[in-house]
Subunit: 749 residues, 2 copies
């Protein structure tokens, strides 16, 4: 073939696959090698994601126990690095604070009984008002007593030390690690965006940056430690990630770790775990790519804040021991939240099957039952013990918002007791009643959510969680009263009459746990509960609890209540999950050309086009030429409008005119054609069908596409629509499309 080989219909037919059989009949498995980037490169995310995909695919396809164990181990490694980074940066941040404080104080004086104490540590243990004699200014230390001499000495030492600190910081940076200057955030932003700059993250930079930072801050220069701490955190994460091959060899994975580390860095720098996650989100723009990254940032940030508080040499270690009941509440919340979702689904399905015709009757009955449970047991007071009456009156009759507000409140004798909730002699009874209320509310809520009334799930869920949390708080309180010296209460005074456990605070924690289990939200949940309750000290416990509850809940089923309802009603919504295929390509997802309705450029007549538009309700049609070469894509709507605009008659002659969309029109005499090229869309995205399925899914998720056309060498080979992708992502859900939309609402085309 002298004019060049063409793959043409009618020619010899070849396998269209990129990787066809080799001559000896083997299927060559493409062995992906790690791309080695030089500093200054930009990484190829698609390539790196492809590598990761092949790696996880290889892990999952292992047979037997290995097939289960290896992927688990793999995700454990990721979490290990994330948590270890958070831990390390929390400790590093704490010690950096100590160093800075000491260096800073050194400009003014020294501690008489130990050179390495800062002024606070030196003067600790004094009564209020007592003057600290142990901290000596340099003037006192050198016994300079004249006013002028004293001031001169102080000022000289101050200025000289400031210059020495700043100078040595600069010397260190210039000599050993010029890249450790400045804040580092611009570079981190670039690195997270794909810039390769490994020289910026070496252990050497880590050391110089941390040391230089302490010196620079102590020198009194007008600078802060926040940005540099983010850089330090990323260096730590880089160092830890080098321990594992999968991060060392995959630039995309490495960046996911770094994003979490950056969040931890801000968390420590400001003592603001929420702020850390949001900084990563907004300023580093890392989480737009993957929801899991936000989740990891959340965990790293919380771990860093906890370890900062734990080491905090100025503070106490109070926080850590109390975390056990929070984690338990988180686990309970995760389990009960998943149960509530399942119960709600079951009831929705039953309702759809049995009660469909009597929606008002259903509402009336449920409201009667709710009211009866909440109120009518009042009559039982004549026979049942008074407690049951009090229970019904106490926890179910009041509006949930009032109940929640009261459960969140601490017991305060001045404010009065809320239905005996603070009565220390009735703990067992209160715990029982609170648990009973929670169970009843779970059943009522699962039934109510989905009836024909406007209904939100948030408040009832908060109510359930608050009951459970308060019950846990009461249990802890009575444990403390019984065993005030147990190891769990080490940080409490050993005198049980002192208030150390706050049941109201446990109610908040319980509410977050339950809400986390039902909605699977993370950061917004923490902020909402935090704004609801208002105490800053609640942030970290709420975060820990939401973390646990989401982990446990996700293990019992990935979807939150809203996603479940979307799947049941079959809305075309793409969950922002990180989809991983198992080796499938676009070819597995696409509708092949043979099943696609296409318009043939310069072949299809106006009459045929009109018939086609009348017959098929698809949103749009690809336009191809005779050889299936893709000419373009036009929506049904545009085609109809352009056709209308041409004002063709219904004559035989007009109906026989060819529709042309491209320069192919020149093949057809001018009087035998109509030009429809205005109907073509500008923005067509083409892929080859060999692309991994995850890339197709991620393009739909991120670019909000409606369809992708698949071509090979210019020829249309198939089509994927959003509906196909939605089906792919929701088909794991057992009741997908179980609740078809109301007949008043048109089905999706």
């Amino acid at each position: 073939m002298p004019t060049g080989y063409r793959h043409r219909q009618g020619d010899i037919v070849y396998e269209e696959d990129q990787y066809e059989l080799t001559e000896d009949g083997r299927i060559p498995i493409p062995i992906r090698r790690t791309a080695k980037y030089k500093d200054g490169d930009t990484i190829d995310w698609l390539h790196e994601e492809g590598l990761e995909r092949e790696r996880t695919h290889a892990l999952q396809s292992q047979v037997g126990v290995k097939g289960i164990l290896l992927p688990t181990l793999d995700s454990a490694r990721m979490w290990f690095v994330v948590i270890a980074t958070g831990f390390a940066i929390g400790i590093a941040g704490a010690w950096l604070d100590v160093l800075v404080k000491w260096l800073g104080d050194l400009r003014e004086g020294r501690c008489s009984y130990g050179f390495f104490y800062n002024s606070n540590a030196c003067c600790s243990g004094l009564d209020p008002g007592e003057v600290c004699q142990e901290w000596q200014s340099w003037g006192d230390y050198f016994n300079v007593h004249s006013m002028f001499g004293h001031s001169l000495l102080q000022a000289s030492i101050y200025v000289v030390l400031a210059i020495v600190f700043a100078g040595s910081a600069a010397l260190l940076v210039v000599t050993y690690a010029p890249l450790a200057f400045h804040t580092g955030i611009p570079e981190i932003k670039a690195i997270l965006g794909g810039y390769v700059f490994d020289a910026f993250l070496t252990p050497w930079i880590l050391l110089i940056k941390a040391l230089g930072l302490a010196l620079a801050v102590a020198s009194g220069l007008s600078l802060g430690k926040e940005g540099p701490l983010v850089h330090v955190a990323c260096c730590v994460a880089y160092f830890l990630s080098r321990l594992f091959k999968e991060f060392r060899h995959n630039e995309a994975q490495k960046r996911k770790i770094l994003a979490a580390a950056a969040a931890a860095g801000v968390s420590v720098a400001f003592g603001s775990p929420l702020g850390g996650v949001l900084f990563g989100l907004e300023e580093l723009d890392t989480f737009a790519n993957e929801s899991d990254v936000m989740w990891r940032g959340f965990v790293a940030s919380a771990v860093a804040a906890v370890s900062l508080q734990w080491v905090n040499p100025f503070g106490t270690a109070k926080l850590v021991l109390f975390q056990i009941p929070w984690v338990i509440l988180g686990i309970i919340g995760g389990i009960l939240g998943s149960l509530l979702i399942r119960l709600n689904v079951e009831i929705a399905l039953r309702r759809n099957a049995l009660l469909r015709q009597w929606p008002i009757l259903e509402v009336v009955c449920v409201s009667a039952v709710t009211a009866a449970v909440s109120y009518l047991i009042v009559f039982a007071r004549y026979r049942w013990p008074i407690r049951i009456y009090r229970f019904s009156d106490q926890y179910l009759r009041v509006q949930t918002s009032e109940l929640v507000a009261n459960l969140f409140q601490e017991c305060d004798p001045a404010k009065g007791d809320y239905h005996g909730l603070c009565n220390p002699t009735a703990t067992a009874e209160n715990v029982f009643l609170l648990c009973l209320t929670a169970v009843l509310k779970i059943i009522l809520t699962a039934w109510t959510f989905g009836m024909m009334v406007p209904a939100g799930i948030f408040l009832p869920t908060i109510g359930i969680g608050a009951c459970l949390g308060r019950a846990m708080g009461l249990i802890m309180q009575s444990l403390y009263r019984a065993y005030p010296t147990a190891w769990m209460f080490l940080s409490c005074p050993p005198d049980p009459s002192v208030r150390c456990i706050s049941p109201g605070f446990y109610a908040v924690i319980g509410a977050s746990a339950m809400l986390g289990g039902v909605t699977r939200m993370t950061i917004s949940l923490v902020v909402i509960l935090f704004e609801l309750t208002g105490a800053l000290s609640h942030v970290l416990p709420i975060m820990i609890c939401v973390m646990t509850s989401k982990w446990v809940g996700d293990a019992m089923g990935k979807d939150g209540i809203y996603s479940v309802w979307i799947a049941m009603r079959r809305y075309p919504w793409l969950p922002p999950v990180d989809y991983r295929d198992r080796g499938e390509t676009g070819a597995n997802l696409m509708k092949p050309l043979s099943e696609v309705v296409v318009i043939e450029d310069a072949v299809t007549t106006v009459g045929e086009l009109k018939a086609l538009l009348a017959r098929h309700q698809y949103h749009g049609f690809p336009i191809v030429d005779k050889q299936d070469e893709l000419v373009g894509y036009a929506t049904r709507q545009e085609l109809l409008t352009v056709l209308d605009g041409l004002q063709l008659d219904e004559t035989e002659e007009d109906m026989q005119k060819k529709c042309t969309f491209s320069k192919h029109r020149l093949r057809v005499p001018a009087e035998e054609r109509v030009d429809l090229s205005n109907a073509l869309e500008d923005s067509i995205i083409q892929l080859r069908k060999e692309v991994p399925q995850e890339l197709v899914v991620s393009m739909f998720q991120k670019l909000n596409l409606r369809q992708i056309l698949f071509t090979h060498a210019g020829k249309l080979t198939g089509l994927v629509t959003k509906r196909d992708v939605v089906n792919l992502l929701t088909n794991h859900f057992p009741h997908a499309a179980a609740l078809p939309q109301d007949s008043s609402h048109p089905q999706l085309s």
Copy 2:
């Protein structure tokens, strides 16, 4: 041409553009029509964005005043709808609360002096401990005195009213608006994701949902009002957006408004403005697509919270009048923040030109100056007034973190006065000193940030802002002391000895304003400052202030300090901005085929390939066949690895072998070729060069691509790399690439 028309090199050459000249020589401007979607469709975002692009392009291309005025008016319309929605939903939420409270109380009794008062309103104005006589239970009202009869009556009315409320809610929903049932969040998620469901957002649904919600909540069913309020907010936004053609006719624009409305809905439902933004972010997944959407959600959420507080019939209108100084602080912060950025850039450029060789000397000098300004003025006490000494000692010598902590603190006689800051007789002096400190700190910070020491910008910025804010607070305080009855202080008691203005709180506001101006962050800034200061009541003022400061700052230059440094150092980072082209297409951005180094499949020999790899340091090369048809893409690295794996000799014979990548290999005898198909990448994204430039940019931003190949009918026409896109997005910045990276760091290929 009997076998079908082919656009082939050597054939007749046609314009490659989709919209070529028509036969009569006119350039046909494609008139985009509005796609009319039916309910149940999924919108085509690319199409809608294309429409919006053409519309804004048409607006911008207007000549004269119109060309300036119309785009401004256009963005004003968007903000009008966002703010009006926030306002409306705040008011709606407040009145819904009133209705629910009244209906709920009605189940228990009525107010003796007016049927329409709820129990709280009925019993307001009582002294603590006084028993409310005005609120009558139904038993009292109907004069039933027997214990049993009273209980029976109360219970019956309670249950009957609960059933009546729930039943009428269900009746309303079933009869008039079946879509108003349930929470509405799954549908809102689907709609924001592109599902067309206009029937879900009608005014009728709005009415029934709001009324039904009040009835359902009042009936005591186990449900909350949060989700439905989000639905109501979206209905309001939909209604308001219908007023303007550009939202009515553009589904993508409409969804941007709806996303902001959803945030406002959560803000009102929970009284949690931050939570609203984050809910939109996390659960509705709306902001992943565009950073502006988050910003609009932020504004809508804040406006809704303000108007909720304003109407709040149970509360006071205290908040509103104080917002004027906050807004002024926001404006000052925006201006000074921009100035700080410019100053920093100027100094960085000077440093690069003049001081490059003496980095350590520079640090030493600046630290000496800083220390001197901060300390040495101590000697001036002998000549200068004592005040200057105090100033230096007070505000500059202490570490910034300590200064900030003290400025944030309220004056409390028990805690002692911080260097006379609380002395009411020295207000003018304090204001002067605070402003002087701020100015000095701006200069020192602009100089320090960029020197060869690790340096963060956050803390100094907070310090500057806190000084300014505290100064403003002192001014307000003295104004209040002078004119306690002025209209601005209406909500304060008219007695000036009462504390009504908190200068410490103003310092927090000032810090947010300054930080907003320097970093241009929004939500993470609010959270960080909030966690730093810890008082919940600060959230809304901080939000308002950050809003103002960002608006003002953006008007003076779009980029925050980090983006400016990234641009100066020319890192390949893509800002997540919403890029709008002015009609350019991919063709304007791409490097055309003639300038692209390609490998020819089955033509290029091994020797040539090796020479090519040695000569060009590009990351990868497109592979084409003789007719420029795209075969694939291979990275330099992969090619080198595969070549290495083949273990070819350096013999003439081996060097003459052809490199084959595809089935074209069959053209070459087996002994004359080497198979390099393993080096091909799976994931190639192809576009046509007619696609709008904004789509190309957005694909790079969202998919993290490294390159996009442009093809036409299967033939390679050009290539765009990330670097091209970065240059496009940063070329508006005057000093782009002004600070080349250090020579120790390799230049970007």
